[in-house]
């Protein structure tokens, strides 16, 4: 439950920061820096590329997932597959953008994948709570970077 609340707050903070930015118009495009508003809405070819790349990630994950139980027998197949897909997609996301908003989403995706793996092996409630705190911190830092890049922090 704590994880849901922390994740919800992180998402809300990020959404508020991102929605507080000026609309992306042609005029704003001319003024926008590369890290603030560009690359938020990719072209059609960009979507095709992303779907194609994500498919490759999923195929790679399916091919390596069967090897994981020999290292971590505590985990079920669903946990392994779900976590590796999240980690793979998150890493793909991180490799495709330098926009703070999307980078933070990528990091949160990777961490959520890791948390699924880790929850299966480490049962300490304190560790899980601290991991939720890290998610929340990432959301706040992401909002800070988004607003800072837009010059709204003064």
């Amino acid at each position: 439950m704590a994880k849901v609340i922390a994740g919800g707050i992180a998402a809300a903070v990020l959404w508020m920061a991102q929605s507080g930015l000026p609309e992306q118009t042609e005029e704003n495009d001319a003024l926008a820096t590369d890290t603030v508003t560009s690359a938020i809405r990719p072209h059609f070819s960009g979507w095709v590329f992303r779907i194609f790349a994500a498919s490759i990630v999923v195929m790679v994950v399916i091919s390596i997932a069967s090897a994981i139980p020999q290292w971590l027998p505590q985990l079920s197949d669903a946990q392994i597959l779900g976590s590796l897909v999240l980690i793979g997609i998150g890493l793909l996301q991180l490799g495709l953008t330098s926009n703070p908003f999307w980078v933070i989403l990528g990091l949160l995706t990777v961490l959520s994948g890791f948390e699924i793996l880790y929850a299966g092996v480490e049962l300490s409630a304190l560790v899980q709570g601290l991991l939720s705190g890290v998610n929340l911190g990432l959301g706040l830092v992401g909002a800070y970077l988004i607003l800072s890049a837009a010059g709204d922090m003064e």
């Binding site: 560790v127 890290v134 990432l138 800070y144 970077l145 800072s148 922090m153």
Partner: protein, 482 residues
């Protein structure tokens, strides 16, 4: 009363109070610096684990604090670590006023010192990875103050550090159940791989180094230098503690080879990039990479030495020259940026302006900053008579005893850093000889830079003043080593 309350809880409280008072810049600066000096002094004076007698009252001064079932243990053996952290903090805070490092520098600097202390003392130590991640999150407003544009370096820094900590967490889980005994082969192999990837990411070892030069180019030089000093130091101390807790980790045949190759490649590649660099900020970033590389080599020498000749002392002996050189270099860069904004009539000038083209002839217009910058650069490059030379000479000697080829690679990297320094010098003294000499630095810049340069020279001439004391700190680490 216990030691973690003094060196973890108290700095945290001071940090919050100073954050509230941040509008009173001078108050925050003076009180923050005094608190850092006080905590460093207490680390020297207080008898940890014994009783403190005040008049006729005896107060027990324990070494353990329990929080939610987890222990923070700061015993007498940690005294040197506390001195490193808090005297280092006092050094950086003292220069922050002249460096105009921002309102958040002092409160967040103190918070980071407290968190680093917590990370290095928490048990079970897997929590350290989480605390180090909190340090990274707290450091973002420090290096990217409100209102400044977040460059790609900050985002990459956050990315690599966040990707690194799950690996350390996982390693901690893998080996926490086995204490000091040797686990089965599969488990050991997985632990090595996880630990290797984790530290590779956290320390910015090639190819995960790209954030460091970018960060040095885009961020405030002084805040960047502070982080470049504190974070790798804490991560390496954490890594040494890791190896000390589980001696079987040191038995892997590949560990030494990996440390050698990683260190030598860092020095070589960073040195080569420095030789061709045309931006003073990025040049500093490459010097930082060389420093991380030489630290890895020093750890490798120390792990294998043991016995009477504990070469791990080299890792600690290099810290003071590094802090001095980073501090002087960063202050000089700040002076250069300030003068660039005047010279180009650009009030928003930042570190991205420090290209060789923009600083042509600055050696005659801000000679104190230019000369100090070159001294700091050549000190990190290991030129004789400067503070960096004696320890590096020992490291080069130790490296040559392992492999002549390795020593050749390391020296080639250092040669690149020297070439970078010569090119910086050439850029700064370029221009007509008819141009008059001027001094355009502020008074506080002149005082601090002259003092720093003097210390760089003096300690280079008299290394026996500081090297033995710093090298002795190694005795408190790797107590379980063979």
């Amino acid at each position: 009363m216990s030691s973690p309350i003094v060196w973890i809880i108290f700095p945290g409280m001071v940090s919050v109070i100073l954050l509230i008072l941040q509008r009173s810049k001078m108050v925050v600066y003076i009180s923050g610096t005094l608190v850092a000096v006080l905590l460093g002094g207490l680390a020297w004076l207080l008898p940890i684990g014994e009783s403190i007698s005040i008049v006729s009252i005896s107060i027990p001064f324990g070494d353990t604090l329990v929080v939610l079932g987890r222990r923070f243990v700061l015993d007498a053996n940690d005294r040197s670590m506390l001195l490193l952290i808090y005297m280092g903090l006092a050094f950086w805070l003292a220069g922050s006023w002249a460096a105009q490092a921002g309102r958040l520098f002092v409160p967040l600097g103190i918070a980071i010192a407290g968190l680093l202390t917590a990370a290095l003392t928490v048990e079970p130590f897997l929590y350290a990875a989480l605390i180090l991640q909190v340090v990274v999150l707290v450091s973002i407003p420090l290096i990217n103050p409100p209102g400044s544009h977040s460059g790609g370096g900050v985002v990459r820094y956050l990315t690599y550090q966040t990707l690194g900590f799950p690996f350390i967490l996982f390693t901690g889980w893998l080996i926490s159940g086995v204490d000091s005994t040797i686990p089965n082969v599969d488990q050991a192999l997985l632990a090595y791989v996880m630990m290797g990837i984790g530290f590779w990411l956290l320390l910015g070892i090639i190819p995960f180094h790209t954030w460091i030069p970018l960060f040095a180019e885009q961020s405030h030089p002084y805040a960047a230098a502070f982080l470049f000093y504190e974070l790798p130091l804490a991560i390496m101390l954490f890594g040494l503690g890791f190896l000390d807790s589980y001696p079987w980790l040191q038995d892997a045949a590949g560990l030494y080879t990996i440390l050698e190759i990683a260190g030598a490649m860092m020095i070589l590649i960073a040195g080569l990039f420095a030789a061709f660099q045309t931006h003073l900020g990025r040049m500093f970033g490459y010097a930082v990479l060389v420093e991380i590389g030489v630290s890895l080599i020093a750890v490798r020498l120390g792990l294998q030495s043991g016995g009477t000749e504990n070469l791990l002392g080299l890792f600690f002996a290099i810290l003071l020259p590094r802090a001095l050189s980073y501090g002087v270099w960063a202050l000089a860069l700040v002076a250069l940026i300030r003068y660039t904004s005047i010279d180009q009539n650009n009030l928003s000038a930042n570190s991205t302006e420090l290209t060789f083209r923009n600083i042509r002839g600055y050696g005659r217009r801000i000679p104190v900053a230019a000369f100090s910058l070159l001294l700091a650069h050549f000190s990190l490059a290991g030129l004789p008579l400067l503070v960096g030379f004696p320890v590096r000479l020992e490291i080069w000697r130790g490296t040559a005893q392992i492999s002549v080829l390795l020593a050749g690679i390391v020296l080639a990297g250092y040669s690149g850093l020297v070439v970078g320094g010569i090119r910086s010098m050439a850029a700064m003294i370029a221009g007509s000889a008819d141009n008059p000499w001027e001094i355009n630095e502020t008074r506080i810049e002149i005082i601090l830079l002259v003092l720093g340069s003097f210390v760089l020279l003096l300690m280079g001439l008299l290394p026996q003043l500081f090297t033995p004391a710093l090298a002795q700190m190694a005795d408190f680490f790797l107590q379980n080593s063979p």
